[in-house]
């Protein structure tokens, strides 16, 4: 029990450190709260911006709190969300206004600079604690390639549900665009420790794909379309295995299994004439 509590305590400290991440913004927040502790007379502000955050921080690092949280609330990695209850924005903003109240125009420049130096610009490149942003390619905020692949597959299939198999990186995007496009496997594979047991998933990501074996596996799962990287190698030409080229984008090529598509059209759940 004691070992478990020590372990939880270490995890709690790690949670706070991971939340703080790069820079010194949390330290700036601590300084702001400390300043208010010694200078603020307003009981409301002391209660909500000093004592309440202290109570929250204390609760976060106490091992029994994590034990109870994991036991009764959530087993996922969500414990850090307690730290969302800290009024970091308001504390830093209020404290800096208090410090620079006599010279606000100079003060806002100095305070904002301090935040910029201690924090990390959200639109900057990732720094190991965060991922880098990319420029939006369209109003859907999805890769243009994913939209192109979806449009090729669903061309002429409006209103029907069509199942496709595609590289894993596309699976997170296509259904945000068109939910009539079903997938043989999706994002759950990213989080599945047994993903390697899914033969279709594994085969779709091999360096050299056996088209015939792939088709056999795909038809078990009612797959009508296959998407491959444009430079994918095959042990035999896909068209010789029974696939027809449906289209291509800059990075991907789409093949259609006309036989399976015809079979799917007989199933009213998927096909709505």
């Amino acid at each position: 029990m004691i070992d478990q509590m020590i372990n939880y305590f270490q995890m709690n400290i790690d949670t706070v450190i991971a939340y703080a991440g790069s820079g010194f913004l949390m330290a700036l927040y601590g300084l702001a709260a400390a300043y208010l502790l010694f200078t603020e007379k307003d009981k409301r502000i002391r209660a909500l911006f000093i004592y309440l955050p202290l109570l929250i921080i204390l609760a976060v690092i106490l091992p029994p709190v994590r034990y109870a949280f994991v036991r009764y609330i959530d087993t996922g990695d969500t414990y850090y969300r307690f730290l969302w209850l800290l009024p970091m924005c308001a504390t830093i903003a209020y404290a800096s206004e208090k410090i620079f109240s006599g010279m606000r125009l100079i003060g806002i420049t100095l305070a904002a600079t301090a935040v910029a130096l201690c924090g990390h610009y959200v639109y900057d490149a990732g720094n190991g604690y965060t991922e880098a942003p990319v420029r939006a390619e369209n109003v859907y905020h999805l890769p243009e390639e994913a939209i192109g692949v979806a449009d090729i597959i669903m061309a002429g299939e409006k209103g029907n549900q069509i199942r496709a198999a595609m590289p894993a990186e596309l699976t997170v995007s296509v259904r945000q665009y068109d939910t009539n496009l079903y997938l043989a496997y999706g994002r759950e594979k990213f989080m599945d420790p047994y993903a390697e047991a899914d033969k279709l998933f594994v085969m779709m990501h091999e360096e050299v794909i056996d088209s015939c074996a792939l088709l056999e596996l795909g038809r078990e799962r009612q797959v009508c379309f296959y998407v491959f990287p444009i430079d994918q190698e095959f042990s035999a030409d896909p068209e010789s295995a029974g696939l027809e080229k449906a289209g291509e984008t800059k990075k991907y090529v789409v093949y259609k299994d006309a036989y399976e598509l015809e079979e799917m059209r007989k199933i009213q759940f998927y096909y709505h004439p």
Binding site: A18, Y19, G21, G23, L25, K43, R44, I45, R46, A47, L48, Y51, L52, L55, I56, I73, D74, T78, Y80, R81, F82, W84, L85, P87, M88, C89, A90, I92, A93, F100, R104, I108, A112, V115, A116, G119, H120, Y121, V122, Y123, Y129, T130, E131, P133, V134, R135, A136, Y140, H141, L142, V172, R175, Q176, D178, T179, L181, L183, A184, G186, R187
Partner: protein, 371 residues
Amino acid sequence: MIYLKPVILILLITVLPFMAGLNMVPFLNKKNDKWYTVYILGFMLDMAAFFVTAIACMLLVKQVPFNTCSFAYLIIQSVLAVTGLAGAIYRRKNSGKSGSSKKKISNEVNDTFRSSFLESAFLWAAFAVIVAFTLIKSMTTVFDDGDNAYYVTQAVLADEQGAMYTLLPYTGGPTQLDLRHALAVMPMWFAYLARISGIHAGIVCRSIGPLFLIPVSLLAWLMVGRAIYGDTRVIDGRVTEDAGRLPFFMCMVSVIYLYGSTSRYTAERFIMTRSWQGKAMFASIAVPVIIAALIWLSDEVEEHKGAVPLLFLTGMFAGMCTSLGAFFAAVLILAGTFVLTLVKKNGKLLLAGIVSVIPEVLYIIAYTVLK
């Protein structure tokens, strides 16, 4: 016709919530009756109504429940807006000439007036520039997050298929309703906006979402600032030197939003990079609104009128945002009122907190029972 789509969307997310907020004006007093407070109250009222509507449809409507949900909620949202407007007109007629509390700002020009006005105007202008920059960047920048494969797809599923959590978001095909997690119905709200406006749900979430959610979040912090500083802008018709406090506060908040991305876990990074996800809305809208309401609660007794209804509605909004939102909102409200009770030595504050968390308690019971 295509030009009507954004107009309808703007009506749904700005005008109708503001009108709904007019229903709550009798709960407000002169210290907190600003337009953004009315909007936030209306936003929370609309969200609470949507929460109830969505849950009812998920439980009671078997075939394409979202079609019923969107139609029913459009009526409910419209009714709330009409009653709010009717109430405002009625109050204005009955209050007569004494209704307006605004004082005409003195035109007397002197150094104090000019410098404090200019300082305040400059800071508000700086805030506007920072916000404009933030919104332009949010529109043109993408943060790759795998969770969108769930949240955005659920919204698109509801709009395209009429399903509410009964189709698999990652692969398609039917699934059993997981009511426990479906209590967080925020993706359905985006689907509602998409259905009524005619704009693709993915666009509503990822492109348009940040354009109004980041400002709503800033309005919530504006409420906090106003609650802290009160109305010291104008005294006896003269702009005071305190006029610069609120815009200074807001400039700092908006800068912290831009530079708060020190890790992938911070609330600031969530609202800036995945505004449409319920957890981001909880951290950056529900939390500041709760803090503002707690400040109201800590003021004199007559201020309490608006605080408890606002906390009540925000608790429902928190549950709608994320399954853990109800829990964390309850923790914040109870911890906040507990601390205030000790500091102000007033047991009524803790009682107000306990009453305020009734929605969260019911949510947690439902969440536990549905395990």
